[in-house]
């Protein structure tokens, strides 16, 4: 993960509530080995015969260069599939600004370095409906440390961000490395926990291995 102190670029508005992870990444694409952006919004983006639906923002040439997605409430609700985050990142998105997030999605985004920023719905609505945002011409700058969003000719907007996620993006953290370091420091406590359990995991493994 690359450390970032800011994200600069263009926005794509998709001002809908409850954009679920089935919409972001339809389950039938689970077998893809990579190039997850081909699955992104597949059923919203394309007709059944795979021809593009012209009205959908990802098919709109005005948003070709967009790297910041603006959405409504509860973005990323539903399934835990991290593929939804990978698909957004493979399609070039670095940040999502929404009025709220599904928690598992937000957790996955934090691990992968996709910034999830929130603001009250009315502030997001005002932003999403700005003529230069809808025209795809607005230039946006997000300062990660403060959450400040600067856009041309508008007052700065301070966006909220979960602190662990903010830290991870600023540090370019590798969560697995961090987890392993942490477990090493806590090894004694973890072993003590394991030793103190009422149930014996080994017994369960032995029985579950023999179920004839």
């Amino acid at each position: 993960m690359i450390a970032k102190s800011s994200i600069t670029g263009r926005a794509m508005p998709l001002f809908l509530d409850d954009v679920d992870t089935d919409a972001l990444y339809p389950a039938r694409f689970y077998t893809l080995p990579g190039g997850f952006d081909q699955a992104l919004f597949a059923d919203w983006r394309c007709h059944a015969d795979a021809t593009p639906k012209p009205g959908f923002p990802t098919n709109d040439p005005r948003y070709d260069k967009a790297n910041i997605l603006i959405a409504g409430r509860n973005f990323g609700c539903g399934s835990s599939r991290e593929n939804a985050v990978w698909a957004l990142q493979d399609a070039g998105f670095e940040a999502i600004i929404a009025a709220g997030f599904g928690e598992i999605f937000a957790g996955n985004a934090a691990t992968c370095g996709l910034a999830c920023l929130t603001a009250p719905l009315d502030e997001i609505a005002a932003l999403a409906l700005c003529p230069d945002i809808t025209a795809g011409t607005a230039s946006l700058h997000i300062d990660i440390a403060t959450g400040t969003l600067m856009t041309d000719g508008r007052p700065a907007l301070v966006l909220s961000m979960e602190e662990t996620a903010r830290r991870a993006i600023l540090d370019g953290d590798m969560p697995l490395d961090r987890a392993i370091r942490r477990a090493e420091t806590s090894r004694r406590k973890i072993d003590a926990y394991l030793g103190g359990q009422a149930w014996a995991p080994k017994d369960i493994l032995a029985v579950s291995g023999d179920h004839s």
Binding site: D22, Y30, G78, T185, D203
Partner: protein, 462 residues
């Protein structure tokens, strides 16, 4: 005096190895459950770094999502499916993980099999790369869904760093009228409070309605906590919990059970403890529920009418009108199964309606038991004959039509009454229109070929 704590706080605290500088808790994870879809990259990550699984005896694998459900199936039936199943098989073998594979006697949906075998016990922490891990709350375990990167962390350390959610009590008051089920309660609840009411919280369900509920029904209830936005939904252990646990094939020995029972007394909510938020929901006049829209919160009484202010996009997708009744709306398919409603009690509920009746000629109806054990138990009491004689397809176990991953899908424009948990656009097939409901309501629709109040069919068979 120590601070009064809730059951949720105590289970959390029991697993907190450290409170980290960033405010997160480092939690010990008692069970990591795996399935074939969300794991390949996690194992890849371990291989790349030459890591081992820290505690393979606390990790259990289940092939369920992409498996074929055709009777006697050997593997998957969509392109890439057999390869995913083979990769999972190889990963489980290489890392020494017990794996309930497609041909295993106990194969089935992870959230059905793990509790039914006795692998999940009250007070445990359980994670899985699947959002419906909250189902474990029905046996009083704290379960939640995680992503692939987090799976890698738990594989490598058996711990997970996570910020403690706020606590929420959902008190279910009153007694559910006859003919109602846990599915009706949870659909009614989400319709009342909305799909993001639980975000940032872990839910404990309490109240009079819960006391009379079987453990299987509690699993149905907790299963859909995530549809309200809460990653975790739990019920505190009681006699029903311990009766259930004692009967599991892998139940702990009586000594261990006794220790566990005492440990559960210790995690009971202290007098004077408070939750960060409390919601109250009266079930005493609740009618069978069904969704009309494209989120689980867009639900109503099956005999009611679609709200006048209903979301236009959802209505357009579902091809329905605001203010209209759903009764009499023709359906093409009926699906009974999933981690929400694929247990023996669910099959019994549907069979009671189907007995001596036939599925309408215009409907294709499918029943997919939640596990092969559920399938055998249902066959032992003749439920399979009721389903087959009625005209249902009687399948092997798997997730089937719920996530739409194998060939069990509906076509564009087809309307389904489904006992599953998500009615999102395109989930059960591109262009498919899903109505979530209870097994009884699904069975009633199968017979009449239209959306039907199961109460209106009472009499025969029940």
């Amino acid at each position: 005096m120590p601070e009064a704590r809730t059951f949720l706080d105590k289970v959390w605290d029991n697993h907190e190895v450290e409170r980290l500088d960033n405010g997160q808790s480092l939690l010990f994870i008692d069970r990591l459950l795996l399935h074939e879809l969300s794991t390949p990259r996690a194992f890849e990550e371990l291989r790349k770094r030459g890591l081992k699984v820290a505690n393979p005896d606390l990790v259990i694998g289940f092939s369920d999502h992409i498996v074929s459900t055709d009777p006697g199936r050997a593997t998957g039936n969509v392109p890439g499916g057999p390869e995913m199943l083979e990769m999972f098989r190889r990963n489980a073998r290489d890392f020494g993980i017990r794996h309930f594979d497609v041909d295993d006697d106990h194969q089935g949906i992870v959230h059905v099999v793990a509790p039914e075998l006795g692998l999940i016990l009250p007070g445990m922490t359980v994670v899985c790369g699947d959002s419906h891990t909250c189902t474990m709350g029905g046996v009083s375990a704290m379960g939640w869904g995680i992503g692939t990167s987090e799976i890698a962390q738990v594989l490598a350390t058996q711990t997970l760093a996570i910020r403690k959610p706020r606590t929420m009590r959902v008190e279910l008051t009153g007694t559910l009228p006859k003919g109602g089920s846990a599915k009706d309660i949870v659909l009614g609840l989400i319709a009342e409070f909305g799909v993001s009411a639980g975000v940032g919280h872990m839910i404990e369900f309490t109240g009079e309605a819960l006391a009379g509920m079987t453990v299987e029904a509690r699993m149905t209830l907790c299963n859909m906590a995530i549809e309200m936005g809460a990653r975790i939904g739990m019920t505190a252990p009681d006699e029903a919990t311990f009766d259930y646990i004692a009967k599991r094939p892998l139940a702990p020995s009586p000594d261990v059970l006794e220790t566990l029972r005492r440990a559960c007394e210790d995690v009971a909510t202290d007098p004077g403890a408070t939750w960060d938020k409390t919601l109250t929901f009266d079930v005493s006049r609740l009618r069978p529920q069904i969704t009309w829209g494209t989120t689980p919160g867009e639900a109503m009484a099956i005999c009611g009418t679609i709200p006048a202010a209903a979301d236009a996009r959802a209505l357009d997708y579902m091809q329905l009108d605001a203010g209209a009744s759903l009764l009499g709306t023709p359906v093409n398919r009926v699906f009974i199964g999933s981690c929400t409603n694929g247990r023996l009690s669910d099959l019994r509920e549907a069979a009671a309606i189907l007995q001596g009746r036939k599925v309408a000629a215009t409907v294709r109806a499918l029943v997919v038991p939640g596990s092969m054990s559920v399938k055998r138990a249902a066959e032992a009491e003749g439920l399979d004959l009721i389903f087959k004689e009625a005209g249902f397809e009687w399948r092997d176990s798997g997730c089937s039509m719920c996530p739409g991953l194998n060939v069990d899908k509906a076509g564009a424009g087809e309307r389904i009454v489904s006992t599953t948990n998500r009615n999102f656009e395109n989930r059960q097939g591109t262009g498919a229109r899903t109505h979530l409901a209870s097994p009884a309501s699904a069975a009633a629709a199968a017979i009449t070929g239209v959306i039907t109040d199961p109460g209106a069919l009472a009499g025969a068979g029940t």
